[in-house]
Structures are given as C-alpha cells and as structure tokens.
Symmetry: C2
Subunit: 637 residues, 2 copies
C-alpha cells in the first residue's frame, strides 16, 4: 500500500532537485554549481520496497499498545524537552526547562523560578530559548537513566533533566559564551578506570566574541569557548579558548577525547567570509591534558568569571607533545560530528562539501603521543555522499546514515567500505542505499545509535520543511519528523509526523533503560503540608503565608482572607496518592496557575490585588466534582 | 488484530468499575452508591467488533497522505488552540492566544503584546490561562471558515482566531465575569432573515461573585453573568445577570435561543452545598427580547463597566410574556448542553444524575409565546444513560453519543427512541451501543456534529486519565484522546493519542471548509520594510529604530550599532516569498526571539544592555547557510 505513495514522491532526480532548489537553497546557486552530485551517489532513490507495508504498520500501534523505545527530543525555540514514544512517534510529555510553561506553572512557582533564574525584582531573567541538542548520561557505554542535558543557544544555558521524575532540576549559564550550540556528556573518565560513567558534560560555543566581551574590536580577534560542566554540581569546571565556531560535540567511548566540528575557522563576520576557506576543522580536546594543565595552574580567567580558561587555539597547540587540542582538517563548513558505536571513529559531514570525513581516533591519540607526525593522517576516509551532508547515525552493523539537506535524502553508507575506497580500492561500493525524505533533513538519529548497543531498528529524521505533507495551517508550517525502518538492507519510510518548529537533535533508546517514578515522595519537599490540619493563614506584617492541601474534590481551606497589597506566599501540597491524580490551582486576575502532582508541594508568591472575592479553582480535571473544587480568596481593603 | 487488545480492556463491568473508582471518584463513595447503574444501561461493553481492524487502519495514514478533516482543539492551561488533522490525530499547529509562546515570539513582539494586553510598564498583563472551549463561525448552519473563538477561564478573556492565517487577532476581557467557561457563536440572527451567519458570540460566566466585586458579602447574594460579544468588533454588546453557575453554552439553528447548563443554582459556596438540590437548570436566553430590552434602555451598568446588563435571574423572569430567560429544570449539577443537528433539541447531561435530558426547543419558544403553561413541558425525554454523563455529540442519523465520566464509557443512544421511552413506551430501546474508553472521558465530539451537516464518521473523546496507556514519563501523565469510528452500528476504537493536559472541547470539520493562506501580504503590515535599501538605524534621542529585512541566507544589515540604555525598536520584514521559508531572530541576553513568516513584518522593543558584541541569529532553519545567517548588534558604552 505504501509503495504507491512513495512512487509518487520519488520523482526523477533532476526534476526533484529543481523543485527543492526553489526553497531552501534559494540564492545558493554558485555553491550548488561547484558541488555537482558525485557519480558514486547517482544511484536512484529507493524509497519503495517490498517491505513497505509491513514497516508502515509497525509504527501504527493498536489502541493500548505501548511503545518499545523512548525518544528525548530537543524542543527548539519552545525551549523545552519533548519525550516521545517510538515507533509510534507519539509525544507523551514535554519537560519545561528554559521557558515558562503555563500548564505546569513552570516560571510561576517559586521552586521553578529558582531553577530558571530571576532578576532583582523577582521576575524571570529569560523567557525565550533555543534548545538544539539533548543527550543522556552513560554507564559502560550505554544510557544509565540518570540524567539528560539540553542546551539553550540564545542565552548560553545548559539544563539538566532528572530521568526519574522527567523534570528539569538545574540550569547553568556559561560565562564568556555566546551561541552555546553542541553538547555531549563524556562516557567515562580518561584517567580513573573505576569511573565508567558520565561525570562531565562538554559544551561547544559557536559565536566568536571579544574576550572579555566589552568592546567591538576587529572580528578576526574574536574567539569561541569550549566548556566542561560537572555532571553532578552543574558548575563549570574549565573552559578552552578556541578558533572557529563550534557546531556539534562528540565524545569517545574511552573518555580520552572530545571533539567539536568547527566551521568559520576563517573567523569571518559575514557569511561569505565564513565560507571562504576550502577546509575547516574537527577540533579534538585531550581531556586529561586539559585537566592536568588546569590543575597545574596553567590557565587564566576572563572578565568576572572565576572559571579556569586554557588556551586551545591552533597557534598555541602546534607541538603534539604539549598540545591540549588538535585541529584535524575537514572540508568546508562541516556540520555534525558523530561517534561510531564501535568506538573507533568520529565522522564529520561536509555541509558545503558533498563529503563525509572518517577520523580514526587511535591515530589522533597517536599524534598526541608523538607516534604520528601528520595529524591529518587520522583521516581514514573522505568520501562523496551527496549534496549538503549534515548529521550521521549508525546501525551497529557497520553502516552510517547521513542526512543530505540539499538532496533531501538519507544516504546509507558502509564505513569500512568507505575506508577501503579512500585507500584506493575504487571497486569498494560504500553507498548502500538512498531514501528520499520530505524535505530538507537536518538531524537524524537511530535507535541506540549513540551507544555501544546501537541496534539498527528505527531511524528518525527531522525534516525542516514539510511543504505539502500536511493539511495547510497558514504561513507557519510544521516540520516533518519521519520514521524509517532500517532493519533491512533497504530503508523503508514508515510514517510522517508533524512537529512544531524547531526541534533539532534527539536520542532514541530502549524503554527498560529508564525507571520513572509516578508519585512524588512527600519528604522530598521541605515545605510540604503533611496534614490538612496544618492548613491556615499566618501573617507577618505585610507578608502572609497560606498553607493548604488538596484532596479530590476539595482544598483544605474553604476560604481564606488577605488584605490588598499583601505579599502572599501560598504553599499547596497534593495529598492525593493515586497515580495520575494531579490538581491545578488558579487565582483569577493574579496571574497564578500551577499544578501539584500526587504527593508534590509547590508554592507561589503574589501581591493581593483589589478588594473582592476571587474563586481559586482546580484547573486539572480530577474528579466528578472537579468544577466544584474551589476555594475563595477574599481580599479585604 | 485490534480485537484481541480490546477484549483485554473490556473486563467485566463490576471489576472495571472497581478499578476506576480508585482514581477519579475517590471520596465520592456515597454519590456512587445513590446512583446505581440503571438497568437499561446494563448491556455489556462492545468495543470489539469485526470492523475493528479496518477502522484501526483508517486512522493510520500512509506517509504523505493528507487528513480529510481538521480539528480545532482547546489547549487547556497551555492557553492556546491546537489544530489537528483527522483521522490521523496528528497535531499540525498550535495557535498562541492567551499565553506567551517562545516559538513564534507571541508575547515578545510588539504586535502580539498589543493583542494580549500589557500593564503600564509594558509587561504582559497575564502569562497564564485556561482555555476550555472552541467553536467556529457559521453560515447557513455550517462552518464558514472565517473565525474561531476560544475562552480563558482564569482571566475571563475571549480570543478570536482568524482561520485564513490561523492566528489570534483579538482578545477581549469580559467585565464582571469570573470563571468564563462555556462559549458558543450564534448561527443566525433571531430577527433579520438576511443575516444567516454568525454575528454574536455568547459567553457563560461560571463563578458567582458580588456585583460589583468589591466586598465579600453573603455568598447567597453572589450572581453570575452571561455575556454577548460582537463577532466582528469583539466588544461586549450586553450581559445578563443570572442564577447558578454556567458550564457550557449552546445556540439554536434559528438564532432565537441560546442556553447554558447551570449547576449550583443553590448558590452555594462549598461543594456539598453546590450539590444539595436534586435539580438545577438549563437556562434559555431569548436573544431578541434581551436586545429589545437593551434597546429600550431597560438595563443597568455595574462598577466601571459601560456594558448594559439586563436582569435574567429566575425571580425577575416569572412571567413568560416578558421573560428574557427561562430556567428549564434538569437533574443535579448538569454538565454540557448540546444542540442536535436537526435543530430540534438541546440535550443536557446529568453529571451527578445518570440521565440525559432532551429539551424540545419549539416548546421553549411556545412558553415564551404564552402557548405553553408549564416550562418543563419542553422536557421530552429524561432517560438513564450511565454514571457521570457529561457531553453529547451527534451523528446526523438520529443518534447521540454521551461520555460517561464515572463509567469510562461512551454510550450511543437514539434520541427519538428516548423520547418514546420517556412518553411511556417501555419497549423503546434507546441505548444502541456502549464502548469502554481509557479513562474518565470529558468532552467528545463527532465530525461535523455541531452543524446541520453532521456526518457520523469519526468521534474523538478526550479522556482525562491515561493511567497505563502510554510509556511512563514521571508523575504528570498525558491525557488520552481516543479516535472512534462511528460509521457503523457499533463504535470501534481506532487509536489512542497522548496529549498534554489539559484540553477540553474541540470541533471536527471537513477540510474544504477552510481556505488557509500560506504567504502573508506585505501590504497588510503598515510598518513593512518593502525594500532592503530602506534598512538602517534611525536615532531619536534615546529611542532608536532599526529597520531590517531577511532573505536567506542573510539579514539586510550586516551589523548595527546602538548605545547602552537605548530603547531599541527593531522592525524585521521577511522578504522571502516562498511558502514555508520562515526566519527567526534572536538576540543573546536581551530576551528576544521571534519569527517572521514569508512576507510578514514583526517588531520588538528592548533596552540595549551592557557594551559588547551580540550575534543576532536566525533561529528557524531556512537554508544550507542557516548557521551563518547572522547580524552583529554592537552595543557601545
């Protein structure tokens, strides 16, 4: 059944590219002209296959059937994290992080405001964000279900998500960083064998700025910053001053190396300058050496920040014996760097070059160890994949899957065959399959792809343009997340899912790797009202504390009285213990609404308004008498 | 295939109810005891049917296939409107209304702040909301694709959505209303035959308050308010002072009647008082008479509001010859009032009574016209349906579908058979089918159900609890929207969809009833920068205007300079004309991010921060050189 449809979509290559050119590559004419599609990539798209119908059905769960994988998705400029079930692609949850969320009262409750950060007047420091990448904590090369992290590019913040309750518990703003882009936790310690789990999170700084950022000097003197955040304390441990603009971050399975793919090593301020050089870099960080340098006091600090900064610029790291960083050369404005699940390679995609570059990590370590003279000897393959290669995922069977933004395709290619081809074996057929996607894919990821347990079952692709794939809803189109079955030789498109812009990266892992709790522990909240009898109003001058509990269908206080202008702090504990029995609490005209999940405590602080009666009501459907679940706030003159 | 699964779910009635009781009806024991399930409703649940597999497949579109229906969904306390495609249940769009939205910059741009409403200091008046009900404008008894409206219960606001661009264009706050709940547009004018389309929107006020709300007097003297808003100007035309708490609103196809289902006609302040009486009311409004009274000056105004208020209390409307309102008696705390597509009946569900009440509109008009002595003679059926009946939808073939909150079922029943049964024909079998849903359903609606063109194809049910239906994601469960095929005799469950709490009401209509535009008209924006040459910085003392355009992959200004403390207004016009080519604009550390769709203009005003370089960048993926699409804001001391 799905064959018919995909045949319609897979128009001949030339016509298709002409169509695509009208949108995403407008005014990129010269670039396209000088990057003609390589011969090796000319195999026709093979989206239709005999397995089509079966694969399509696989993503369509029957009512009540549970998904087998979780997906953690960056929310883009909604500033949150999305939790999906896969293969259905259903969004089960959104976790507010950087941006207020009116459903849960994130940015409304005192507890969430403390995590988000406030200005002197108590209002939120930021209400916008741009989250791109999310990755989770590791143990022994697989996810351990403790934490996930996510970035905010606009305001250079990193948020941590607790994967027991699926909530954000800490946010750190990085000093001396603008455009915090890529993010990746380490997988083990580079020195201590016993630490076989994540203790650091690496953060790539994209925009180059004056250091410190107080003037507007010559842009060629601007630099970017690579940061290491402590996974537990969420404090910034150290930073590295670098050349070029970080896009993504990857970490090695042995804990020794992190890398960022760097574009604009030209240090240009205008886009044509940023793409003037033919090659940029995959920039490697020698984690143990950097930490030794910091320990030895070989750092400076910048501006008001106390964070140690070591010098990782190209100029300062020419000697391999002492180098903290290594700039492996990769073609033109690379986009994406991904670690293969066998632990051997990092792969950079060319973006403005039609190539994928395979870097052998053992050879990078050889260079640091003085065993290899030429750093670029670590490049074991650089092969043509198609136009606009961006990101790469893996199936654990030796194949890589790379998005081709300009070609609107996913290309499946074999890494060892690519290495053979690069070594001179022109008979090595490294391109295994191509699949048209709809349209202009950015990130992609496969089930368990970023772990040693990559299982090559499902591939999700985030397509930036949906164009004609969904009913029209005005000028703002959804993006199109497509699910692909990669269990066979041929990729098979399973389903289209519309998604609010603009999610970027995501990870997909087996459902048994997390063990969420569904009811809170009353004792986790120091301000919990453990007994309805503790309810009441306590006045201390103009400051008033209102203590209340909820048990369907009533709040413990039937009414409470405050005075106009009082600073009221209302503490609400939900004493209902039954899973899924959440209550809400709204106060008309006082800009208050928040929820309390079973056994949760939350508080809000507000100034009582004009005299009158205000019906505070339960906003989260709880009970047959939900509409009747209210309390009256009486404000006296 | 779906048979096996539904069999598992449909456990015997008693065991199932025991299970359900643990959650939503905790502490409602006595209520359940006094409302034992009626004999007529004892037919076993029939979720499994031979049509099961086919129906299930129908909701599973193949990649690239378009939905055939739109759904407009209230967003609940996310304060927005959701746009779904059906039968797939995919969310294609969210339209920000009452609450800021970091994706589009709603609440960030000057244009959206003007619609939302600001305080004297320019900050938003409200950032929380609770939207429940959404309905669209009519012509000749079907949707005409002009507008939809949606309520905010917390702050008594009504928002209008333009269905050409799928954006909110006006918000009005209702005076003297707390807990604005139900909402419904009229379907034609009650007097002027030529006006066969929507010109009024009726708004039900739920919470009773002192009028004016300045004190805390005896709660038995509190009253609620029913409001009429002009569909074009969005000004409040008139209000009616009433007894009881409005839940939903319905309007007749002839334009003559509106109605609200009223609970708490006891005017109690505590939940046990609110359910003390055995019967409440379906409250009818005689629209022509109310407008004649307003025209004749028979009104007062309340507090600061200039809106004419007529007296619609029970006491003041005993004489049918002059009555503006009519309180038809319905059982205990009714929930939901729905107009049948044949134009004949309004149906109220009993909530705390296991009944549905069918009211014959012609007989209500007879009472107003002095042709009927007893108002309650308009009740042509009052039949037992099951426990916790809430809302009713229709298939256009004479059948009604009512959610049973406590029974976690949808009951399908035949309206004319119910009328016969009520008239004494005890052989009339009015219950046609029952289907278990998962779990505790609130609103439901069927395709085209609220129009004369009800087509009985799909039924969506908003289940308030999802419990075990999706992968666990911590204490806050999603709700479960279920799609049901109602085209045959038996209802067939098609699919489960998780949804972020807490949507309430929704409408479903054929896709050809709206004609969205996908590119804006440059001329619709008075401040549009129509030519990149108009770009630049204009200073007027401390006020600075920055004019800029976007065309992938560049902004028209490469950099711009302002001074610390300047009040900067930045105007950005997206000159890209290609559908789906949206750009974003973020300024680090200045809390600015917003999008401009093709040919759209938006502006932001902010205070320039500390001296330094700020890379403003495109946040909405647009082009292969998207990362390079930036401009530098240089802030001087």
């Amino acid at each position: 059944m799905s064959q018919d449809k995909t045949k319609e979509v897979a128009t001949p290559a030339l016509g298709r590219r002409k169509f695509l050119n009208t949108a995403a590559i407008a005014s990129l004419g010269t670039l396209v002209a000088c990057n003609e599609k390589p011969g090796s990539a000319a195999a026709s798209a093979s989206s239709a296959s005999a397995a089509g119908h079966a694969a399509s059905s696989a993503s369509h769960l029957k009512p009540g059937e549970l998904d087998t994988y979780y997906g953690l998705w960056s929310g883009g400029h909604t500033g949150d994290m999305r939790v999906l079930g896969l293969p259905s692609g259903r969004e089960i949850h959104r976790i507010p992080c950087f941006v207020p969320d009116a459903l849960v009262g994130w940015g409304v409750t005192n507890e969430s405001k403390k995590i988000m950060g406030t200005k002197a007047d108590g209002s939120l420091k930021y209400t916008v964000a741009d989250s791109h990448h999310t990755h989770a904590s590791y143990k022994d090369g697989n996810y351990d279900g403790r934490y996930a992290w996510i970035n905010d590019k606009i305001n250079s913040r990193i948020a941590r998500i607790r994967l027991d309750y699926f909530v954000c518990d800490k946010i750190t703003q990085l000093p001396n960083v603008q455009g915090f882009h890529g993010i990746f936790p380490d997988k083990r310690d580079p020195v201590d064998e016993k630490i076989n789990y994540t203790t650091r999170v690496f953060c790539g700084g994209e925009f180059a700025i004056p250091m410190p950022n107080t003037g507007s000097e010559d842009s060629s003197k601007y630099r970017s910053m690579f940061s290491c955040v402590d996974a537990e304390t969420m404090e910034v441990r150290w930073q590295v001053l670098i050349d070029g603009n970080c896009d993504l971050v990857a970490t090695s399975y042995d804990g020794k190396l992190a890398a960022t793919n760097q574009y604009n090593t030209e240090m240009g301020a205008h886009y044509e300058d940023m793409m003037s050089a033919e090659r940029d870099a995959c920039l490697f960080y020698n984690v143990a050496r950097i930490e030794a340098a910091v320990k030895a006091g070989k750092f400076k600090t910048i501006g008001d920040s106390k964070v140690p900064v070591v010098d990782g610029t190209r100029e300062a790291n020419k000697d391999p014996k002492t180098a903290l960083t290594a700039y492996v050369s990769v073609p033109k404005n690379p986009h994406g760097v991904n670690a293969s699940p066998d632990g051997k390679y990092f792969i950079c995609a060319g973006k403005l070059s039609p190539t994928g570059t395979v870097i052998d990590l053992s050879k990078v370590l050889d260079w640091f160890d003085g065993k290899s003279e030429k750093l670029d000897a670590a490049i074991v393959a650089e092969v043509e994949l198609g136009l606009g290669p961006l990101h790469t995922a893996f199936d654990g069977r030796g194949n890589a899957y790379t998005t081709l933004f300009l070609d609107s395709q996913v290309v499946k290619w074999n890494v060892e065959a690519a290495i053979k081809f690069h070594a001179g074996d022109k008979n090595a057929k490294y391109v295994v399959d191509r699949l048209d996607v709809q349209y202009q894919p950015g990130h992609l990821n496969a089930s368990q792809s970023e772990t040693k347990a990559a299982d090559g079952k499902y591939l999700a692709v985030g397509c930036k343009f949906s164009k004609d794939r969904f009913l029209p809803v005005g000028p703002l189109h959804p993006e199109n997340e497509q699910m692909i079955d990669i269990s066979g030789d041929k990729m098979v498109l399973m389903a289209d899912h519309p998604v609010r812009g603009e999610p970027h990266d995501f990870i997909i892992f087996k459902r048994d790797l997390v063990r969420p709790k569904q009811v809170y522990d009353l004792n986790d909240f120091p301000n919990a009202i453990k007994d309805p009898k503790e309810s009441g109003v306590v006045r201390n001058g103009k400051k008033v504390t209102v203590k209340m509990t909820s048990q369907a269908p009533a709040f413990s206080l039937r009414e409470f009285t405050v005075k106009k202008g009082d600073e009221v702090t209302l503490i609400l504990t939900n004493l209902d213990k039954i899973e899924d029995l959440t209550h809400g609490f709204a106060i008309p005209n006082h800009n208050v609404n928040f929820i309390v999940n079973p056994q949760e405590t939350a508080s809000v602080t507000f100034i009582a308004g004009n005299p009158g009666v205000y019906w505070c009501y339960c906003t989260h459907f709880c009970h047959a008498l939900h509409l009747e679940m209210r309390t009256r706030m009486i404000v006296e003159a």
